[in-house]
Symmetry: C2
């Protein structure tokens, strides 16, 4: 069954961590990075830009390369298939400006037009390949040693063995018939968006995501002042830095809100251990919700159909 | 009545356009810009970073100044009150790195610690002051001449005279009892977020926003595959570039979706005319929805209460 195949691949994140691909450059010579990518491919750039702040990391999720991106930039095009039209459009614009194209892809047109290729295994959905899509950036610019990989894999194996809390939360979400609303804060601000998109694609649920403290400047208003609308949402929070002001904000919110806020606390010591713990957790939860709603988590034919119709219009 | 006062101030956007404040620098000498700001103040940086792509414009909506921001950056702190704790935290970090603080504020601590001040009129809510918060950036880096100001004001006056379509849409949103879902695309991608936050603060409604084409890589799945959930949303689209692939995408989405997508097309010729048309439209619509739901559009006491509680914890 498709479901089984997909579920098997969720487990493959451990293998993906071992992926050693990286760009053959001296990272110390890079002054700024621009990463182009959409959807399940683009999310690797979003996560990386939060993880690595030594130099500017610009992310692009549209057809256009910003005017200011020049040959000084290390330009990376991330497209799992290698045929994403937005990413190809940006990459071709880069080429026309004399910027070298570094690519993370399993093949497609991108693998042919790029100057420097990190080839990743094919046969997955982009969103199942987050490890493959992210590791080349981490390997090149942050450096992940063998001990860290081993530690990350241990954390993921432990998570796989204690899945009953995830099953319970999945059932709670299904029973609630509510819309997931996900909060996150530094250093995991980018993960509430990943969580939302996995609910979208795996579970076929709309989801709302926001970051702290920005949420306290706008969406806190309906959360506390419009109880009948707040009642349409089930609130989840990915716990970031425990010593931050955002953590204090969450505590005050909990004391004022009529709705429970379900907290997901990453396990592990290092940043990368926690990062991959949450990514794996999100995958298990959203696939489990999908199965309990009798959806095929792998099925995103509607996205492919739209791409097919679009390809007829030039 | 508070409502009348607030509604009067929505009309003040025309006067705000006339605000001549700008930074006393040579913009051609600036190599990169970093703008710190939260909520209704921070939105000016989000809009500006899409409007001006000649040089990198980094926006910061958290407590931390990214490591890569150095003295080479033109750093701007935007806080209407001048007392936003996140923005002050970032500004102080900038100061400690020897970076000059340029401020757009009506007063507060920020006006005291900054090196270069553009002082804007006080007495408004930050979200009522979008013109004052945005014009100094546009005046300094893009340059808005008197003729353009006059044209923008004419467009806004015409919009004010033809408000009955806005009233009808406001009533439709109220009657629907649904959650607004807002799409936008280039060059107005940043405005779906502004729309969402104005629904939050003025109308006390949750709202979901996304940009095209990124939405087609994830949230299109529940929109087309989960009709019972899609039925909880009322879909709105701010029309951007009519010749773009994103426009084609919207057309295909409309042909496939069971839900109507209500399109808001900006009037005017130039980018700035269209930008301010949409900003004014958003204000009128979200305030009108608020009044029809019997909320006070100005009331965001819950945000102020949270700030007060937070200020007790150091």
């Amino acid at each position: 069954m498709a479901e089984d195949k997909f579920y098997d691949q969720v487990y493959s994140l451990k293998d993906q961590i071992r992926f050693g691909g990286k760009f053959s450059i001296n990272p110390k010579e890079v002054k700024a990075i621009a990463i182009s990518g959409m959807g399940g491919s683009g999310v690797s750039g979003r996560i990386f830009s939060e993880a690595f702040q030594d130099i500017p990391v610009i992310t692009i999720d549209s057809y256009k390369l910003p005017k200011f991106v020049t040959r000084d930039y290390f330009f990376v095009a991330v497209s799992y298939s290698g045929n994403t039209e937005e990413t190809l459009s940006v990459a071709k614009e880069a080429k026309s400006r004399g910027i070298k194209i570094n690519a993370i892809t399993s093949g497609g047109e991108l693998s042919k037009i790029c100057d420097n290729l990190v080839k990743i295994p094919s046969g997955l959905q982009p969103r199942e390949a987050i490890g493959y899509l992210l590791m080349p950036l981490l390997n090149t610019f942050i450096g992940v040693n063998e001990e860290e990989r081993t530690n990350i894999i241990s954390i993921l194996e432990a998570l796989e063995k204690e899945r009953s809390p995830i099953w319970q939360l999945a059932q709670k979400i299904v029973d609630s018939r509510k819309i997931p609303y996900i909060l996150s804060w530094e250093p995991f601000s980018s993960l509430s968006y990943r969580f939302k998109t996995q609910f979208n694609e795996n579970s076929k649920l709309f989801a709302l995501n926001h970051t702290l403290s920005e949420q306290n400047h706008n969406e806190l208003v309906p959360q506390l002042m419009n109880n009948s609308m707040a009642d349409k949402f089930i609130f989840l929070a990915i716990e970031g830095d425990q010593d931050s002001r955002s953590r204090r904000r969450l505590e005050i919110m909990e004391s004022k809100s009529a709705s429970e806020i379900i907290k997901i606390r990453p396990k592990g010591e290092s940043y990368l251990e926690k990062l991959f713990y949450i990514l794996h957790y999100i995958d298990f939860l959203t696939v489990e919700v999908s199965l309990r709603l009798s959806y095929d988590p792998e099925d995103v034919k509607v996205l492919e159909n739209l791409k097919a119709e679009l390809s007829k219009i030039k």
